[in-house]
Structure formats: structure tokens, C-alpha cells
Symmetry: C2
Subunit: 215 residues, 2 copies
């Protein structure tokens, strides 16, 4: 069997998790703090994490918005690895149906949207109310096209007014969601992607590590 | 470029993260709880995590025991993917030099030890004081052989009495450590492995997702 050819280098799409980083309003602050600190005489450095499962670069499981839906530990391993297409969106308020329709979307595709969100270093900044989100029309189109994974470059795929509906449209149709992808400097195009969420049982989401390389 | 051949299926070596799962004595309890719960009238399910960065299947960065050492966000992407050898250890108290020496260990190898720890469903059980750990002599040998990664099947690579010394021997020599691998039912042999820790800046460790397939 061919093993993974590692000659072409990978790029990390994961936002660094940091103390007090941006988080969804209404969720507790992200805390990354040392229980033991060698610089303060501790026997070792031991970091304690306290945060929403939906922090930074993370995945949403159907359970996030679907009662008794699949939890994040059920994300199939085979779906963690494979081609992904990064599509650039020009619209400056949301991801409109018309722009998505310009691309031929195929069944089982992993589709990632790069928007104006990626023009700022958002993981280090305060929560921005005017982030670019997926329109419900575009979500419905992706559902019709039977994509397998949708990824976005801010911490929610849906907007303030359509968040519940967009999540339900995707997660209710077994489309898994990656949020908080760090796409600054990444060119649109076809990539090979590995996306691995932490295996948290019964959880609606989990922090994930995501890497890509050009195909 | 050849993309990853996904025809042969992967096996998950990651222990599920669960509420109140086993943790290192002296570290706070693992908490995986819902801030919002649809079964209790919540608008969505939203899980909050609170735990040591050294929970379940996780990686140790040099910073865990080396002042100003590399943190877990510096684990090189190229080291996340590649061959790994799972070696079975018969000794029932620790991993002795003599058993490790029976295997030809090569520079840059990822070496994973499967011990008696994997005969119990340890992630669901109380902390066990008599877990099998790496002897300092075997750690020194792995350092001499210049391996790149060492993995073990309990939540610490070192024992009660040699924990600090074993960690320093490995982490102080740029050998990265995977702890808490779930190897129940896994056969020894040569595998291809993907090991991706959450990218936590300035952290001494991070939960990781680890998968393998036979080469």
C-alpha cells in the first residue's frame, strides 16, 4: 500500500487557542492557564483549559442543533481525510447563493468558504458582529448538492438572524461543519485536507486540527 | 501529486474524552458539561470543557518539563504524519531496556509501546497507581537512538518515582511524547500514523486525535 507522500508540505488552517481569545457571546471566556508553572517554582508546567467546545477552529456535530443527533465522536474517520475546495467569496456581508452557484459543487465535496473574515487576524480580536456568514439560500443549495462538509472562516457558519436555520439546514442533513478556519494568506483552489476533531463523547462540537496541501 | 490513498481503513487510537474521566492526581476533575441543553429547553446543545491539557489521548511538548522549551503549537506538521511502530511489552511493571533493545530502533522513528495497560478499559476507570511506565534506562536508550516520538498507553510516560527524569530525558532531547493512546485490540507492527494535537499556544500539552492504518 502507498503510504502518505509527505514530499509536499502542509499548511495549518488552525487558529491558535489562546487565553481570552474570541468566543461566542453568551459562552464563558476561554481560559488557558497554568496550574503548575516552572517559572513560579512549579515541578512542571501543566496547563488547564476551560472553554466551549466551539472555540477557535472546531467542528460542529449534528447534535449541536439536532436533538439526539450524532455527536462529534461519531465523525467518520474516512471523512477526516480527503479533497477540499476553498472557494473565495467576494460579497462583503454574507455568502450569497449566486456566488456559490458559480462553482460546480459535487456530491460528497468538502467546501470551504474564504471571505472577508480572513482579511483580519480575527482569533486575536474581539468578537465582530458583522462577520460574513452563510445565507440560508446558499445552505439550502449545498444541502441539495449533498456536500459532506462545509467550512467557514469565522466561529459560526450562520449569522445573527439565520444562525439556527443555517445550522439546522446543514447539520440536519448530515453535513458536518468546520468553523473558525484560519484562511489568512490561503489561496482558493483544490486541496487535500486532514481535519481531526478531539474525540469528545456526547459532545456537540470539538476543537479540531486542520491542515491542507495543494493537490 | 499522489493524494492520500484512503482505500485501507483507519483505526482510532484516541480515548474518548468524557465527563469525570481518569485524570492525573493533583489535576482538577475533567468536566464535559452542557451550558445549553436542548433536552432542557435550550436553543442548542453547547458543551463546555474544563480539563488539564494532559487529559486522555494527548501530547506532551518539551515545555511540560523544560523551562522555555517548545510549546505544543510548535509540533512540526511533518511529524504529525508518518510511519509508527507499535511494540508489545511483556513486562508487567515497567518497560525495561532489555525488551526495547530486542527491537532494532532507528533514528527518527515513532515508537509506541503497548503494555498490560491496554488490557483494561483504563479511560473509563479510576486512576491506577500500578500502571506500566517507561524505565529511565529505556528512555535513555531511545534518546541514544534519536527517535522522534514516543507513545504510551497510559496517561504518563514516566512512573511515580521516575516521572520527572523520564520526561526530561525525552522532552529535553526533542523527543515528543504521546500519552494515553488507546491500544486495546491493536496488534503490534508497523503502521502509518496521523497524530494531531490541538494547536494551543504556549501550552505544555494538548489533547490529540491519533489514527493509524497498517502499512
Amino acid at each position: 500500500m502507498k503510504t502518505i507522500n509527505n514530499s509536499k508540505s502542509w499548511t495549518d488552517l488552525s487558529a491558535p487557542v489562546t487565553n481570552k481569545m474570541v468566543h461566542w457571546p453568551g459562552e464563558p471566556e476561554v481560559s488557558v492557564c497554568k496550574l503548575f508553572d516552572m517559572n513560579k517554582g512549579g515541578p512542571a508546567n501543566v496547563t488547564i483549559l476551560s472553554m466551549s467546545a466551539h472555540t477557535g477552529t472546531h467542528m460542529d456535530a449534528p447534535l449541536h442543533f439536532i436533538k439526539n443527533g450524532k455527536d462529534i465522536s461519531m465523525f467518520p474517520i474516512d471523512m477526516m481525510i480527503g479533497p477540499a475546495r476553498i472557494i473565495e467569496i467576494k460579497h462583503d456581508r454574507f455568502i450569497p447563493l449566486e456566488e456559490v452557484q458559480q462553482h460546480e459543487i459535487n456530491p460528497n465535496e468538502r467546501v470551504i468558504f474564504k471571505t472577508k473574515n480572513s482579511s483580519s487576524d480575527w482569533p486575536k480580536q474581539e468578537f465582530k458582529r458583522d462577520y460574513i456568514y452563510l445565507s440560508l439560500e446558499a445552505a439550502g443549495y449545498l444541502k441539495e448538492k449533498k456536500v459532506s462538509v462545509v467550512g467557514v472562516d469565522y466561529i459560526s457558519v450562520g449569522g445573527k438572524d439565520n444562525g439556527k436555520a443555517v445550522h439546522e439546514m446543514l447539520l440536519g442533513n448530515e453535513i458536518w461543519v468546520i468553523e473558525g478556519l484560519y484562511l489568512n494568506g490561503i489561496k482558493p483552489g483544490l486541496y487535500e485536507m486532514i481535519c481531526m476533531p478531539v474525540k469528545i463523547k456526547d459532545s456537540d462540537g470539538a476543537p479540531a486540527r486542520v491542515i491542507v496541501r495543494k493537490i
